[in-house]
């Protein structure tokens, strides 16, 4: 099992003192190299869920297991290290660092784990993304679609076991959406990475075998096949 959630509860306290529940997930799991689309309405807690899984946000209660490690028991620095070594992240906005070239942005993806930075792997990943000729371009010199492909290469640079993608195609034009999506899915298959991909678009979700739906504020996760 790549990812397993048990009784995850997360709520935020609103300024007026009311408690606003965001997540209430009894049980959820993603198998080894499985690919799941996560849909739900805006403000439904999808991003929050990804942050809880990656250890950026701590849940109020419950357990998160990744590759059998209960990361909810780890101290913060331990979760950071775990994230550095096992989790890949692709964000809605591309979130590349402006001062870094495409290659350096990818290298940054492996800078915080114990392993040595593997320049060849970084180059290969960019090559696979069709960016072999864009290694030393800065984000401002890349098209939107290219930027997102650099971000995908970066998310895989640390050879993660789980890739979390938060609406990776939302900022890309429709013609490019499919290309990007295909790249992500193919790469995950190639490297045996489990994928949890958040999307608004039904036409994207439909391409996945399994779709998880996070329902409005009720915060119950259902799995449909």
């Amino acid at each position: 099992m790549s990812l397993e959630l048990k009784n995850i509860k997360k709520s935020y306290r609103e300024p007026d003192g009311n408690v606003l529940p965001i997540l209430d997930i009894e049980h959820f799991q993603v198998g080894q190299a499985e690919q799941i689309a996560l849909v739900g309405s805006s403000g439904g807690g999808k991003t929050t869920l990804l942050n809880v899984i990656s250890g950026i946000t701590t849940p109020d209660s419950g357990q998160v297991f990744i590759d059998g490690v209960e990361i909810t028991r780890l101290p913060e620095a331990g979760r950071d290290r775990f994230r550095a070594e096992r989790i890949g992240f692709v964000f809605q906005t591309f979130n590349l660092l402006a001062a870094f070239t495409a290659l350096e942005n990818v290298l940054l993806g492996m800078s915080f784990s114990r392993g040595k930075a593997d320049k060849q792997l970084a180059k290969d990943l960019l090559e696979k993304m069709g960016l072999g000729k864009r290694l030393s371009h800065r984000p401002s010199q890349l098209s939107v679609g290219e930027q997102q492909r650099v971000a995908i290469a970066r998310s895989l640079a640390n050879r993660p076991s789980l890739l979390l993608a938060d609406e990776p195609t939302a900022s890309v034009d429709p013609a490019n959406q499919d290309t990007i999506l295909k790249l992500i899915r193919d790469m995950c298959r190639e490297f045996g990475v489990s994928l949890l991909l958040v999307t608004h678009a039904m036409e994207i979700a439909e391409q996945f075998d399994r779709v998880a739906c996070l329902k409005d504020f009720n915060a119950v996760l259902q799995t449909t096949s």
Binding site: T47, D80, F82, R83, L97
Partner: protein, 447 residues
């Protein structure tokens, strides 16, 4: 990528601000270096602990002026001493060595001070355990001269070259007499390096250097507290000879002692190895006796220089150190402002790095590394600039003040600068670092 290279990336990203802040640190540091080195130069130059003589005897007046004149050849002589007095000093049973020194003129080329003296000057240690060495010969003839190494280098003079000298304080009055260089002294690191030494006999023989007879009698009478008649009595035989020569040839062939004058006398007391402090107390005794009588003073040159250093130079140095310290502090604040202002734009970048697995300490360290890099680069550039400044300004300062400056001079205190920079940088980078440390990842990722 290492933290350092990540830090350097964001330094480069803000190249202008980074360059300016590092430059301000460099300016502060170079000033600090200049102050440190200036202090080393002055301290070394004015430290007479190792000076080769126990006393400097000169006319009564400022002790400091006497030392600046005789030892440093920086100030013009105040008054002169009669030759008769020199003979008396030389005869004193407590005195081992007495060297007459005549100053005031300067070389026509380069304006180096001319010092008329006897050849014994060169055979005495100029500093404890240090003797003059020469290329060429010691002066033996009336018009022989020996020059210091700095004079030789600046004027390009060689053994055999002739030169003229300019009368004290009158730039247009060039003496017609010509001296010839017979030797060049090896560098000593003392004012001797920039001195032109001429044979005292030649110095006296220069037209205009002899005091008119009547004036000389009046001066000697005043000096010894005698009547002019007593002075004439004392010099009776010499004066008769002088009179005879003038009547026979129209001018005197031998210069009477009466007309000779020296600026000062360098004195070494007799030294008794069984009682090493004896020569010191002899010097003190001699100096005390002079205080009462005559018109002369005997000065231990260490004392006025030390007073000058303690009272003036020392305080100026402390003031300058504070000032340059403040400048560096201000440039540190500049770095702080620059980094701190950039933090608002960088919260997102920091959140991204955190999402990629950087922990709080790592992002803190990246900011700190940035501050350290700016301070250390600025500091190193400042050290280079400071030494460059010394190299450029050295010859000018030497020409103006007569202080010799080694262009490669280095003060061990400089070694503190880099660690001090790192400490400063740590303070400067701490608060922005803390901002990075506290950055909320989830919040800044979605912004």
């Amino acid at each position: 990528m290492s933290l350092i290279s990540i830090a350097f990336k964001s330094i480069r990203q803000r190249a202008l601000a980074s360059t300016l802040t590092a430059f301000s640190v460099a300016l502060g540091t170079s000033l600090m270096i200049a102050v440190l080195i200036a202090n080393t130069i002055v301290t070394r130059a004015f430290d007479l602990q190792e000076f080769g003589y126990d006393l400097v005897i000169g006319p009564k007046g400022s002790e400091l002026e006497l030392v600046l004149n005789t030892v440093y050849r920086m100030a013009p002589p105040i008054e002169n001493l009669p030759w008769r007095y020199y003979e008396e000093v030389k005869a004193d049973k407590n005195i081992a060595v007495a060297i007459p020194v005549a100053l005031g003129d300067s070389s026509e080329i380069g304006g180096f001070p001319i010092l008329g003296t006897v050849v014994e000057y060169f055979f005495n240690e100029y500093a404890h355990g240090k003797k003059f060495q020469i290329e060429g010969e010691w002066p033996s003839h009336k018009w022989d001269a020996v020059i210091g190494s700095h004079v030789a280098r600046v004027n390009g003079w060689k053994v055999g070259d002739p030169f003229h000298m300019v009368h004290a304080g009158q730039a247009d009055h060039v003496h017609k007499e010509e001296f010839t260089i017979v030797g060049i002294l090896k560098p000593t690191g003392t004012p001797n390096d920039r001195t032109v030494f001429v044979n005292l006999n030649g110095f006296f023989a220069i037209d205009g250097h002899e005091k008119p007879i009547d004036e000389a009698i009046a001066r000697e009478a005043e000096f010894f507290g005698e009547t002019p008649e007593q002075v004439r009595q004392f010099h009776a035989r010499e004066l008769a000879q002088y009179q005879k020569e003038v009547e026979e040839y129209g001018h005197a062939h031998t210069l009477p002692m009466l007309q000779k004058e020296v600026t000062s006398i360098l004195v070494k007391m007799k030294f008794d190895p069984k009682n090493p402090t004896l020569s010191q107390s002899r010097a003190i005794g001699f100096s005390a006796r002079l205080k009462e009588g005559f018109k002369a003073q005997a000065v231990n040159p260490i004392r006025p220089m030390q007073r000058l250093m303690d009272k003036l130079v020392g305080n100026i140095r402390i003031l300058l150190m504070y000032l340059t310290g403040l400048i560096i502090l201000v440039s540190g604040v500049g770095i702080f402002v620059s980094i701190y202002n950039s933090m608002a734009d960088r919260k997102k970048e920091i959140a991204i790095m955190r999402a990629l697995g950087a922990d709080r300490m790592t992002v803190f360290s990246i900011i700190l590394a940035e501050s350290v890099a700016l301070c250390v680069i600025g500091g190193l550039a400042g050290i280079v600039m400071g030494h460059g400044l010394i190299m450029l300004a050295g010859p000018v300062i030497t020409a103006r003040s007569g202080l010799l400056i080694d262009p490669f001079i280095f003060d061990p205190q400089e070694l503190i600068i880099i660690p001090a920079m790192i400490i400063l940088a740590s303070f400067v980078g701490f608060i922005p670092g803390l901002t990075a440390y506290r950055t909320d990842v989830a919040e800044n990722l979605s912004s």
